[in-house]
């Protein structure tokens, strides 16, 4: 598995990688993230947040499930502790994800502030894109690719939040549902980029376990899926190199 190793062989130089990142960030991910946050914006409107607060939560929380938990629970009048626990549990996945992404980019970005920025800009869209880039190009190039992708995604996310806050009630039902569904298709397709057997096994196991474990245990289903599925894949293919 080529996680965290210097990708060998030829690949685009940093400028070419940066340009590719701009293209990728402007193409599907921007539309996808825009539409995700369109949904959150309309929800924030319905649950009594101001446009500025909605915008700020996309910029600073930058995690759809956590943002939804926050808006949904506060509207239902839940305890502050319960809300924060739910938001926090919805984002535990960032712990292993940040470890891997920042670790992979470590040689290109040794200083802590930028490492924290990499971790903050990370999402379900940018993580797989950054990881896929690190598998097909040298780390410095993958880093140059990640910055525009991640920055464009969060920018479109903020614009989408505001658009959703003001507009989504006026959109036709089919258009709104299709925009939400675009996320599902796009995020699923990001996994098709992987060619490493161990990664494919971990992804397949997670995809199979995710829905039933969520049905069984809505709060911890995602975590259980990761630990059980990831450990299974590692035990089967990960120990020998």
């Amino acid at each position: 598995m080529k996680v965290g190793t210097e990708a060998s062989g030829p690949g685009p130089d940093r400028r070419a990688a940066f340009n590719e990142g701009v293209r990728h960030g402007l193409a599907v991910p921007s539309i996808v993230v825009f539409s995700t946050m369109l949904g959150f914006g309309s929800m924030a409107h319905a649950t009594g947040f101001s446009a500025f607060e909605a915008f700020l939560s996309t910029l600073l929380v930058w995690a759809m499930p956590g943002q939804v938990a926050m808006a949904d629970l506060s509207a239902s009048g839940a305890d502050l502790f319960v809300i924060l626990l739910a938001v926090s549990m919805a984002s535990v996945r960032f712990f292993p994800m940040a470890t891997i992404l920042v670790g992979t980019f470590r040689s290109a970005t040794p200083d802590l502030p930028r490492q924290l920025l990499i971790a903050h800009l990370m999402s379900a869209s940018t993580w797989p894109m950054g990881m896929a880039a690190s598998q097909r190009m040298p780390v410095a190039s993958a880093m140059a690719y990640y910055w525009p992708v991640a920055t464009l995604c969060i920018t479109f996310g903020c614009i989408g939040t505001l658009a959703g806050y003001w507009l989504s009630a006026d959109m036709p039902e089919i258009a709104r549902l299709t925009l939400v569904f675009l996320n599902v298709v796009f995020l699923s397709l990001l996994f098709a980029q992987n060619r490493d057997r161990l990664v494919i096994l971990a992804v397949a196991t997670g995809a199979v376990l995710g829905p039933p474990l969520h049905a069984l245990e809505p709060n911890y289903g995602v975590l259980l899926t990761g630990v059980i599925g990831g450990t299974f894949a590692y035990a089967l293919l990960g120990r020998r190199r």
């Binding site: 940040a98 980029q193 590692y234």
Partner: protein, 112 residues
């Protein structure tokens, strides 16, 4: 203490803090860990499985408005996206558009 006892702005900032905590912990661990080692590979497996599980849950058991749409239509549209992806030489843009278009078409024309 009820969540309504603090201002929405304070709630947003607190939510941002508890989310950032996990990201920061990950970034800090990343600088301590051997990226060639077994532990790193295991955590990578856990991450891939976690994100895949999250996304497959969004497709199979969505929350919100998507929950009202038929499972067969959602899975069928994802399958079409994958088929187009591999037929069109791994073109992500085309594949995502094809998946979304089949979904919209299904919603518009199927008797649901």
């Amino acid at each position: 203490m009820s969540g309504t006892a603090i201002t929405p702005l304070a709630l947003v900032l607190l939510a941002a803090s508890v989310t950032f905590l996990w990201r920061a912990l990950g970034a800090l661990l990343a600088s301590k860990i051997d990226t060639e080692g077994a532990l790193f590979r295991w955590i990578a497996c856990v991450s891939y499985a976690t994100v895949a599980g999250l996304i497959s849950r969004m497709a199979v058991l969505p929350t919100g408005d998507l929950a009202e749409t038929p499972l067969v239509l959602r899975l069928g549209a994802v399958a079409i996206g994958f088929a187009v992806y591999f037929l069109a030489r791994r073109n992500l843009l085309l594949a995502a558009a094809a998946g979304a278009a089949s979904f919209a078409g299904g919603l518009a024309f199927l008797p649901l």
